[in-house]
Symmetry: C2
Subunit: 209 residues, 2 copies
Amino acid sequence: MTAEVITGLRSDARDNRARILAVARAAFAAEGLDVPIREIARRADVGVATVYRHFQTKESLLTEAFSEQLAFCSEVVAKGLAADDPWRGFCLVIEKLMEMHALDRGFARAFTSRLPKAVDFTAERDRALRLLLELVRRAKEAGSLRQDFVLEDISLALMANEGIRAESPRMRVAASRRFAALMIQSFRADPVPAPLPPPVRLPLQLDQV
Amino acid sequence: MTAEVITGLRSDARDNRARILAVARAAFAAEGLDVPIREIARRADVGVATVYRHFQTKESLLTEAFSEQLAFCSEVVAKGLAADDPWRGFCLVIEKLMEMHALDRGFARAFTSRLPKAVDFTAERDRALRLLLELVRRAKEAGSLRQDFVLEDISLALMANEGIRAESPRMRVAASRRFAALMIQSFRADPVPAPLPPPVRLPLQLDQV
């Protein structure tokens, strides 16, 4: 929905729309994409019909709810491309994307899923991925990124990042940071062991050793 | 339940017990640990009370259902420890655990979770982890594994492995294999880029590039 259309809404409709988006963002971030529309309606204290009046499909709600995060991703990739050293730019992108995905599981899941019905979301994501592909090309050309690296490896790394669980969002980000450093290490063409961020206590551990 | 107790059951009770275990194994593997007891009872075509007669708690059902997989894990780690080269043994353990976890999501989730009530499961897992810790010590001593590697990094790698989704179990295993090779690369003290298994098509990709 464009700004013009939004401005044209009556103020209570605008309030509803903003509240539905805020509720959807929080619900998707904490619980993933499976939260049903009727549950979002309940938490936003509106009827299901009201949700559908503002967002024709769950995909359009999802696209609107994640538009800021997606814009942030594009921005991160653009910054990476602007870096003097393409390898440094590549590392920056991996680190930032993983940190952001660790904070918002709904967005992480949306970003790494095939969502054929979420046309706008997918188009914007593809734009970001195309820029990333250009950065990958440059980092390979510079001899820093391994030649057999493919875009699917970023997909693999981002999905893997989603699997990381920890006791709190803060610890998940810390664990994710160590994980990103490990992945970057594995992507280097000429790997010299780089120092890792500190390890994090995770659900699977030996307390007694 | 010991073999003696099982033998003492009437044959229809034995059939029920075996069927409940088979259903639970399949359900946990495909859908994770959240499948409720009443759903397992329904699929096994028995009453909820019958499930509880054989397994006092969900944790004891889980422990019995995964006992083979857990034994396999211990065996893999024992094999790794028996290898002449501790680094080779360590790589073997990472590869096998990840492959196995990719095939059985329920077990993967159980293995990387804190399950304080599943006492037998946890005790057996801790035995395997202690052996793994000894293998880690040897691989570091041999100078092959980075000194700042910690057991939590295996936990991190296994949880990350759980996040990998693909169109079929076969593709998930293939993706997991490439991921394991990348993780191993990142764990090396003196990393020389090793060839990776082929990349796999994943949900997030650019079809049009």
